[in-house]
């Protein structure tokens, strides 16, 4: 029994020691807990918050683009789309097959869905199909039990109600490129688009708006649990254009399927009322990415639908340039208002003979008559006397060869050559070059918008700047009043002489464009024809009478041009029309310009605050 006593004693001792050890061990853990929870608590608490908080930007709605009477040219429409959450179904393939039966999927849709499902986490929705119509949505809702994880959601997409009619002015949007993404974090958001052309690009900053921010609580795998805080962004500004969309569409109807451009401008303030380019393209196609086939079709078309011919198409101005040459001659004293020059049908310079368009010449005439008959020899001689630099100096005032300042991207400056320019390119300017430029051929190049600006400046004597933005969020931008523009450095008497010459072209007997008479009571149109060669006519062809431009292949025919303003005694509207390879300006471009001008004056958009049709409808 003594042994049992020892055994029990040892057990008791050791058990008590063990108890002390256990208490000490758990006590040590308690101390460690204190260290982690209290002493280092603040640090770990911060870590806990940074674990769970995640800030996300919310995309602001893009600003709308309106025409001058409030018609929506670019808006946001709701895009109903079917999304799919893989985690809500047990049979992904089965659900997709069911969806395919109910709303058929394209092959490329299937490939994209497969890719997205592989890349995304299972709780991030994958887009199955966009732009659902009511019928498709109804079918999805009715079959919801067969489509676990599929739900219909609404996003926005850019909508262009007038599609191709204004594609070149309004432009289009496309998904941001990788280069854009660095500039503004908003662009990384799904569905955000960047303006890629036209006003969409030029006014990108105003249209985009400011992003809002949401503070989210997220869990370990990034799933959003709830919203903690939200600051709303501001939607993009609404941009009101100077364009009258009804006028624009009526012009387009007249241009038909030609490759042409027509610009209608309020010549008192430079507001572009219509700016048409044919053929055009559908800007909505860029929203989700253009197919390669579509792109190839556009880029291989010789009528260049993607190029805004009004601002980026450069053409030799031809005879429409003669007013500028005449004004240059008057301004630098090369001729006086009454000087007469004799036209025998040609002018010789050394052994080169420059022909007038009229084989037997116009005889002796002053500036007025030369404009009226569009005599080439007269302007050859004026240009020769003034010299190219003096011509350029005046022509620059009418926007030739300089930036018009139009608020559209990609506008070209054309070309107004000078001796210095020629020298820069390693050549010597010759008098022959000057003579060519005297009738708007040779090196001179201008865009239809520059031509419209040119006529506007002749008509008003002010350096109006063409522009298409009229208001931003309802605020009238500067440039809407004539006083916003300085008076040109050209004598008013010279301008008046030229205007009278343009009047004579249309309204006096013997003028080159009798077809362009307006036919409206009490109003006359003053204009100038032009047809600019794109190919030098050989002497042989000319002398043997074989030259008939209408028989040439399309791309070698001369461009047909007409510029005009009206009403003659109180100029308000300027129109420039260029028909690519349209042959004679007087036959093709002048009637077009007349109809456009008649339309414009009838609608009179510059003097109205409400579109003519609208007032009737609402009244």
């Amino acid at each position: 029994m003594k042994q049992e006593g020892t055994r029990n004693g040892v057990f008791t001792r050791r058990a008590l020691l063990l108890m002390a050890g256990q208490t000490a061990a758990l006590g040590a853990l308690g101390v460690k807990l204190y260290r982690v929870q209290v002493e280092q608590g603040a640090r770990y608490a911060t870590l806990a918050d940074s674990n769970r908080m995640s800030a996300r930007l919310i995309a602001p709605p893009r600003g709308r683009i309106l025409d001058r009477f409030g018609e929506v040219l670019a808006g946001n429409s709701l895009n109903w789309r079917a999304l799919f959450l893989a985690e809500q179904t047990t049979d992904v393939a089965g659900t997709l097959a069911a969806f395919d039966r109910i709303v058929s999927l394209e092959d490329h849709d299937r490939a994209r869905i497969e890719r997205d499902l592989k890349h995304n986490r299972r709780f991030i929705p994958v887009t199955l199909k966009e732009f659902l119509d009511w019928d498709q949505m109804a079918r999805i809702e009715v079959n919801a039990p067969d489509l676990p994880g599929v739900f219909v959601d609404v996003g926005t997409t850019r909508r262009y109600p007038f599609g191709p009619d204004l594609a070149h002015i309004v432009g289009y949007v496309a998904p941001p490129s990788d280069a854009d993404l660095g500039l503004d974090p908003v662009l990384a958001l799904p569905g955000v688009r960047v303006g890629r052309a036209g006003i969409e690009q030029f006014r990108e900053e105003e249209l985009r708006g400011d992003a809002g921010e949401v503070q989210m609580e997220v869990n370990a795998v990034g799933r959003i649990i709830r919203e903690l805080d939200r600051t709303e962004g501001s939607p993009g500004d609404e941009v009101g254009l100077t364009i009258d969309v009804a006028l624009q569409r009526s012009i387009l109807a007249q241009l038909g399927d030609t490759a042409a451009s027509a610009v209608v401008m309020d010549c008192t303030n430079g507001e572009v009322l219509a700016m048409t380019t044919t053929p055009s393209f559908d800007p909505a196609l860029f929203d989700s990415g253009v197919s390669q086939a579509q792109w190839n079709e556009w880029t291989s078309d010789r009528k260049t639908p993607l190029i805004n011919k009004a601002t980026a198409g450069v053409y030799p101005p031809g005879s429409t340039f003669k007013m500028a040459v005449g004004l240059a001659g008057l301004r630098c004293g090369a001729i006086t208002e009454t000087d007469r020059i004799s036209c025998p049908g040609y002018i010789d310079l050394g052994d080169t003979r420059f022909h007038c368009w009229r084989k037997h010449g116009h005889g002796s005439q002053d500036l007025h008559g030369a404009l009226k008959h569009s005599c080439d020899v007269f302007f050859y001689e004026v240009a020769r006397r003034a010299g190219i630099d003096a011509v350029a100096q005046t022509a620059n005032q009418f926007s030739f060869g300089v930036d018009t300042g139009v608020d559209l991207p990609g506008a070209r400056r054309g070309l107004m050559p000078t001796t210095a320019w020629r020298r820069r390119h390693g050549h010597v300017w010759t008098v022959g070059d000057t003579i060519g430029c005297g009738i708007g051929q040779g090196f001179v190049l201008a865009t239809p918008l520059q031509l419209a600006t040119y006529v506007s400046r002749i008509a008003t004597g002010r350096a109006v700047v063409p522009h298409v933005t009229r208001t931003i969020t309802g605020t009238l931008q500067t440039g809407a009043k004539p006083d916003d523009y300085p008076v040109l450095d050209v004598p008013e008497s010279a301008l008046q002489l030229v205007r009278a010459g343009m009047f004579a072209v249309v309204n006096e007997g013997g003028g080159t464009a009798p077809h362009a008479r307006l036919g409206l009571p009490g109003m006359q149109l003053a204009g100038k024809t032009g047809s600019s060669q794109v190919r030098r006519v050989s002497r042989w062809a000319r002398e043997h009478g074989h030259f008939n431009s209408a028989q040439l292949p399309w791309e070698f025919r001369p461009h047909a041009l007409f510029v005009c303003f009206a009403p003659y005694d109180a100029p308000r509207y300027a129109v420039a029309v260029v028909v690519e390879h349209g042959n004679a300006g007087a036959d093709v471009a002048a009637p077009l310009a007349r109809d456009i001008m008649r339309d414009t004056i009838t609608r009179d958009p510059a003097r109205r605050t409400v579109a003519p049709g609208q007032s009737v409808a609402s009244g």
């Binding site: 008590l16 063990l18 256990q22 929870q37 280092q40 770990y44 918050d49």
Partner: protein, 383 residues
């Protein structure tokens, strides 16, 4: 084969009512309180009674009935089945290696119909029973004989080796410690302990080389958790963040962001203590720790109060087992030792662990109820 009736006949005043009276109801209350803590923590972890808390409560209710019934069984009858139970547990361990369910890269589970068994959990209790039985009638002198210690040493090593092979480092370690503690309680000499301690560093080096990559990663990341914040160090860092975000007073019930946002892995099992510490702060964590300590020391008191060696050693083994659960789990949660799959008894979610813990508690209560019974001097006398 003896019946319980024959044993009771030896002590006629020992009826069922007396037994119920002799149960330490305060101790039962402590267990209920612990399970209650588990219910609250699991309620928060699951964001409501589903999916964890409700089942936890149900299991505890069932286990409590089992525990109280077990407490009624005569400890001498239990002692008779010590070695058969040990043998069965060993067989299960072999089976789990052959056909076990692989979870997280280790074979630990055995599926027997609807019940999932973790034989290593059963083994710890069975080992304590077997060793207690071995030393029950051993005299002080006999225990001093190294040859007498050899069979129990083998009885410890066999399951430890099998559990290591699963591999479940934490449980193997706990099993070894439980076995050793019984040896120590039984009167193992100090010099014997010293000899045992000598090869430990050597064995540790060998063991390290046989560790699985994930286990080695745990040790290296334990030494420097920030070295791999998204990989093996993730658990430790996130657990510490949860503790730290709790602070002194806690974020409040159901307000723990770490657990609710799933930053804490296995929050309902191994890391349940993190939830308690995050939501109830240091105060709550220490309160829970104190409750656990009370249960452990309570078990030790049962051992001290018992008048027979079998009960003493079994109660000691069960208490040490309980202590090891708590120590390893909490130390892991506070980042003091590398992570291992050890649950917090009666708090963590899991049926197998709950059942084995309550089974052990039933044995403990049986020891307490039968603390004064006399084991017959000779085994034959019982037959």
């Amino acid at each position: 084969m003896i019946s319980e009736r024959r044993l009771l006949r030896a002590e006629p005043d020992f009826g069922l009512l007396t037994k119920l009276w002799r149960i330490n109801w305060l101790y039962v209350l402590l267990l209920c309180a612990l399970a209650g803590c588990g219910y609250v923590a699991l309620y928060s972890a699951g964001g409501g009674p589903e999916p964890y808390a409700w089942r936890h409560g149900l299991r505890f209710g069932f286990s409590l009935v089992m525990m109280l019934s077990l407490a009624m069984v005569d400890i001498r009858l239990v002692a008779r089945f010590s070695w058969p139970i040990y043998a069965a547990a060993l067989a299960l361990l072999v089976m789990v290696l052959k056909m076990g369910h692989v979870g997280k890269g280790a074979e630990r589970w055995l599926e027997l119909g609807p019940v999932q068994l973790q034989p290593s959990e059963i083994m710890k209790v069975a080992l304590a029973m077997a060793l207690a039985h071995w030393f029950n009638r051993a005299s002080w002198a006999r225990v001093g004989n190294p040859l007498f210690l050899l069979p129990p040493a083998l009885a410890i090593l066999a399951p430890v080796a099998l559990i290591l092979k699963e591999p479940n480092l934490g449980t193997a370690f706990i099993t070894g410690v439980v076995g050793l503690s019984v040896l120590v309680g039984a009167g193992m000499r100090l010099w014997q302990m010293a000899i045992l301690a000598i090869p430990v560093p050597f064995l540790a080096t060998v063991a390290y080389h046989h560790l699985h990559d994930y286990q080695r990663a745990r040790i290296t990341t334990f030494l420097n958790p920030e070295s791999d914040p998204l990989g093996a160090g993730y658990n430790i860092i996130q657990s510490k963040i949860a503790l730290g975000s709790g602070g002194m007073w806690g974020r409040g019930f159901m307000q723990g962001t770490q657990a609710h946002l799933n930053f804490l892995p296995e929050k309902q099992t191994d890391f349940i203590f993190s939830i308690v510490a995050e939501e109830w702060g240091l105060v709550g964590a220490l309160a829970l720790l104190t409750l656990l300590l009370a249960i452990i020391l309570g078990g030790m008191l049962v051992a001290l109060r018992c008048r027979h060696q079998y009960g003493r050693l079994l109660a000691l083994g069960i208490s040490v087992n309980m202590f090891m659960y708590v120590f390893v789990n909490v130390a892991m949660v506070v980042g003091a030792i590398p992570v291992g799959g050890v649950p917090l008894p009666l708090v963590s979610h899991g049926g197998s662990a709950m059942l084995t813990v309550m089974f052990a508690m039933g044995l403990l209560m049986s020891v307490h109820v039968h603390r004064d019974v006399v084991f017959p001097d000779k085994r034959d006398a019982l037959d």
